[in-house]
Symmetry: C2
Subunit: 402 residues, 2 copies
Amino acid sequence: MALIVQKFGGTSVGDADRIQAVADHIARTVRKGDQVVAVVSAMGKTTDNLIRLANDVSKTHPGREMDMLLTAGERISMALLCMALADRGVAAASFTGSQAGIITDTDHTKAKILDIRPDRLFEALEAGKVPVVAGFQGVSTERDVTTLGRGGSDTTAVALAAALKAQLCEIYTDVPGVFTADPRVVPNARKISKISFEEMLELAASGGRVLALRSVEFARNFSVPLQVRSSFTWEPGTSVQEEDETMEQAVVSAISHDTSEAKVTITGVPDKPGIAARVFREIANRNVNVDMIVQNVSHGGTTDISFTVPQIDLSAALSVTQEIASEVGAGTAYADSGIGRVSLIGAGMKSHPGITATMFETMAKGGINIEMISTSAIRISCVVRQEDVEDAVRLLHEAFEL
Amino acid sequence: MALIVQKFGGTSVGDADRIQAVADHIARTVRKGDQVVAVVSAMGKTTDNLIRLANDVSKTHPGREMDMLLTAGERISMALLCMALADRGVAAASFTGSQAGIITDTDHTKAKILDIRPDRLFEALEAGKVPVVAGFQGVSTERDVTTLGRGGSDTTAVALAAALKAQLCEIYTDVPGVFTADPRVVPNARKISKISFEEMLELAASGGRVLALRSVEFARNFSVPLQVRSSFTWEPGTSVQEEDETMEQAVVSAISHDTSEAKVTITGVPDKPGIAARVFREIANRNVNVDMIVQNVSHGGTTDISFTVPQIDLSAALSVTQEIASEVGAGTAYADSGIGRVSLIGAGMKSHPGITATMFETMAKGGINIEMISTSAIRISCVVRQEDVEDAVRLLHEAFEL
């Protein structure tokens, strides 16, 4: 008998029929002899509808009240799922984030989990019940309702799996697993059956949309094996786990792309210690996440620094950068929102030095200019023109025979 | 500076515009220098929509999960109201029943309030905030979310007013106050400016739909002055309070009617001690509320007993009555769902013995037959044919010059 956390996203519980299909699946798992803790998101468009209501009612959306509002969503889906389970003779009980003991900091709308005290879930399991837990939400150290931000339900599921010492955390979604590239761009992209935490982390960080980055970090830190599966086909999906011998020894596992970022460049930066630190400290103070940073060797005592930020944060990042550029006597700061990023990910890269060269050759043959390069031990990312992104993904998918 | 609890029902917060009107009113009250604790119901049709979803998803509706589902409704309205208040520069914070310290028993879907521990509301008031509390909901001694059943939001408001020692509890609704009769039946019915708790209790118990009976009981028991007002006109409404000198000394204050009940009669009941007790114990065991009971003098050792029950409980009440009738050797038990009840209510009745006679004469002149009679110190109720109810109300309203 295993303890399995099963997480169902918004499309998986999108309407009454989908909720019944999910209840059938949980009932099957329980009848096979396993214990299940379910984690659910809000039904399909519920969250969007609640946000629209908030916009209709007011211009100011205090975080505490947005969290109170949005957490109504999971409340509805989890209660309905418990009712559908009762219909199937499976005893179940729903738990809010607070009741499930998910303690967070007080950073409303993007709270971080500080602790999990799952006493009530253990009690429910001991009583033979399936606990159905609201994803995405918790209770703060100030006893206020909080939400975990984007990808929050995945994070709830993984964190609970860690706290409950579950054997497995299954993430049910609307795609059958993790693919070697986005199937909308590369029609013959292949489903990956196993991938390491590290590769999945790089994938999530570089534009892979299947799992939220935070949940993968959590899974890696607490060694929680993940299984990404479709709640429409119920087929086995992609296993995300510690790197092991049985894992496919592909040099390159997947190609990801991301067109949600923009590039900021400061020219003529004096090549003195502390200047770059000052730029990025100021940007961090405005709560902007900088992703890639590239600084080249200096010429004549000055250098250029380029970095990427989310498009939505571009104007904030540009204005602070321009201020600092003039303060430190640099040249100008300018933005470019016409960029995209293509990344190669593969644990095998560490021991295969030719990968970078093959990547660059492939791009050159396709006439694609590379504007920025950044690498980690198991990832190579190139910034290119946005209109070249999909071509690059297709060419690389072919070149590396994925 | 007074502390006022203001309760807004479902139609009062029915859409974005209504929520903004409510926020304007709370802001006005606060700017006048009073402290406000707001209590809100779910928006208009939210509860009906959630119940429809539950019916779509399942046939079994465990009480615990229905409560979890339905409490999403107030969560939405209270968060939106706080946002609208923030727009107006009024600091506010929403509180679930649980956060507001409303402790109930474990009787899901119709829980009773056991205790109120409003520490967080006091903290919010001290911090200069308007606490906006979810009506209709609480948390049970088992730490599960509960709802208070029909009229639950009124009960929340009155119970909070008692616990907070508020000077006044204002119930905002879609009618301007309590009327001498239902204005849909008697177009020239008059709004009552003051009414005693006892009269309001009789009125609520005999078909008056403005205030839930439980909330009036609570108000009387804890001496919480109520004000029933319209959230559409914001005019002064009806004050419900301890009987006092300044109160209108009308002999008859109001006429109410109720067509939601049915009558059950057992004929030929042996006139022995314990038989009636046995009938009503069995009915109580099936959770059916019996309202009027009439037993007449016996003839030849047997008597007839008639009583009224809510129409929805009629089949349950009838089947248990028939069982017992045969067990105790009575005649038959039969039902009549074509009845209605008309009641005269007035604190002045106690000292005016002619009221009953005038009532019966008025009915007789109108050709209306009286089937059952029951009285209290300040109320006389008659059961008549359902089709005669509205005529009776109009005739009595005229006869007593209301």
